[in-house]
């Protein structure tokens, strides 16, 4: 049964991700050097940036699956988009909660209406509306189509978030990894960041596969119920 294989792969990836998370915690609290100007609070970077990466990656999957779903109307793509959107919301929420904790120490304020924060909050609301639109219609197929459109439109916000620090006046620092003139990060900090990114990716992919499996099984139950009702009606 393919669902069983997916579930097992999901559990294995999530278990690897959990081990990675333990290693990351050790590196963050006992190994990585403290940044000279930002101090201890800079260690939030290793949870904040991987969360942002997963939020963008997940919403990329949502947009891709939604676009192909609108074209092919394959239910598996809709289920994948739904599972990715749920994970994307979780990691986007982590990003939005850990950011203010760092900002309070570095900028002296929990929140400021600067471009990157506003665009990230907008992304959260767009994907929140993905779930609202999905459940707001009487016809489930119509809800899936509307949600797919929201998923595609929402992803347009991601490149804007990325360029907001260079195109607009922003309190956020310039990119330290994805910059044209190369990396501007201490090697130990870079290794810790990479461990954080790998951990978050494994956790997300593992839980995404498990969530996808749940959705497959749920639709199977719905189909059986519809089938038995139709048989009773006949």
């Amino acid at each position: 049964m393919p669902e069983n294989r997916l579930q097992r792969t999901g559990i294995a990836l999530a278990a690897l991700g959990t081990l990675g998370a333990v290693l990351l915690l050790w590196m963050v609290f006992f190994w990585v050097p403290t940044e000279r100007t930002l101090g201890i609070a800079q260690r939030i970077f290793y949870v904040h940036v991987p969360s942002a990466w997963i939020a963008f990656f997940a919403f990329g999957i949502v947009a891709l699956c939604s676009g192909v779903y609108l074209w092919l109307r394959d239910e598996r793509l809709d289920m994948a988009a739904l599972a990715a959107a749920e994970g994307g919301m979780v990691f986007c929420t982590i990003m939005l909660l850990t950011g203010p904790l760092w900002a309070r120490v570095s900028w002296g304020t929990w929140w400021t209406w600067e471009p990157r924060l506003v665009l990230t909050l907008l992304l959260w609301f767009v994907y929140f509306s993905y779930f609202l639109v999905r459940n707001a219609t009487e016809n489930p197929d119509q809800g899936k189509r509307f949600a797919a459109v929201v998923g595609i439109v929402g992803v347009l916000d991601i490149p804007l978030i990325h360029v907001s620090v260079t195109w607009m006046r922003s309190l956020h620092p310039q990119p330290v990894v994805l910059r044209p003139d190369g990396l501007s990060l201490d090697p130990d900090m870079f290794i810790t960041l990479m461990v954080g990114l790998a951990t978050a990716t494994m956790l997300f992919l593992g839980l995404f596969l498990m969530r996808y499996t749940v959705e497959c099984l749920k639709r199977e139950v719905d189909q059986r119920r519809t089938g038995s009702r139709a048989a009773q009606g006949a």
């Binding site: 915690l25 609070a41 979780v90 982590i94 904790l101 760092w102 120490v105 839980l207 099984l217 199977e220």
Partner: protein
Amino acid sequence: MTIRTCLLVAAILAVSSPELLAQGTDLASQTLGRAYWHVFAAYAIGWIMVLGWVISIARRLVSVERALKGS
């Protein structure tokens, strides 16, 4: 008498005010404590959110497997 009262008030303020206390001690260590609290909170939020998602998936999986066995 007035000078004595002023000195007494100043001494009480110096002891009780955290800002004045910070000036008298190492300022870096004052902000360090708060920053540590923020770092712990950030990682706790990360763990709680992911754990919440895991629990939510597990509950739905159990419920859907029960429904599959029942149908």
